[in-house]
Symmetry: C2
Subunit: 171 residues, 2 copies
């Protein structure tokens, strides 16, 4: 078992790759499977009865915490780790549904602000309980406090290591 196997050759040029040992492979595969199944299950929770998708939910959360429930497109893209293009399309769809509106940024005529509407806030309030309940059931309550805390610390490091590394969203 190796997401990283493909051995059967020890010669070849001068590759000199450090492969993963058995334990590491096990952990790596659990990580892959776990994230995959988790996000699928969480997305399903949003499809069943919640008025916004998972991605839209995260966007609304960011806006809800910003002063004036307003954030520049570029700031939003950074917070959500989204490409500018993807954010444009997502905001397009949400604006059509009346969840957000676009307004010009006062000082900078290139800029566009994304503002949460009352309908957007209502959708957030509507979705929040189901969302949190699902996150608890699938993630938080599935782990010990200790494990969950370590998970957070570890993923903070991973985020750091991955930031910028090759094509950072909107290079």
């Amino acid at each position: 078992m190796g997401a990283t196997t493909a051995r059967e050759r020890d010669d070849e040029g001068g590759a000199d790759v450090r492969w993963l040992d058995e334990e590491q492979q096990w952990a790596w595969r659990r990580f892959l499977e776990g994230t995959s199944r988790f996000f699928e299950a969480l997305g399903d929770a949003h499809d069943e009865g919640l008025p916004v998708t998972l991605g839209e939910y995260h966007l609304l959360v960011q806006l809800s915490e910003a002063p004036g429930r307003t954030l520049r497109m570029s700031a939003l893209a950074e917070f959500l780790a989204l490409s500018r293009s993807r954010l444009t399309h997502t905001v397009d769809r949400m604006e059509r549904r009346g969840l957000v509106v676009r307004t010009p940024v006062p000082g900078d005529r290139r800029g566009v602000n994304c503002v949460m509407t009352d309908a957007g806030y209502a959708a957030l309030v509507d979705a929040a309980p189901g969302h949190v309940t699902a996150v608890r059931r699938l993630l938080v309550d599935a782990l010990t406090d200790e494990e969950f805390a370590t998970l957070g610390r570890a993923m903070a490091k991973v985020a750091e290591a991955s930031r910028g590394s090759a094509g950072a969203s909107s290079a």
Copy 2:
């Protein structure tokens, strides 16, 4: 800051949701950001110089470990946590490129086997070093052994909690 905030109301029906505390919110957000940035960076590594996408790579790995480099579509879907439909489309694309071929399953005329070709194996061997190097850099080497091991154990639990939960890929 709360991916799960949206408070401002303590009345309302009988929701009775257990929100996340500050620490939990922090960990949850690091998890979101970390996974997002990690998979993006890993995908980028595959776009730059590797002959197969990340998803295709995982598929080839599974096949490489199966007896006869052959796996039934349904088994492949289960291992990769993919919907049957998505697997069909992915295998379509890979078959067009000669990385795999489809053959009938001997005993069961409903079944279809997916077999890795020599070209598929070559692509895997080609991609493996870059893949492993990226996984190390972004994940394994970014953490202590202890953290990485805990991450693996934690995600195994999460996978378990998420399995079956609402629309399991191919319900």
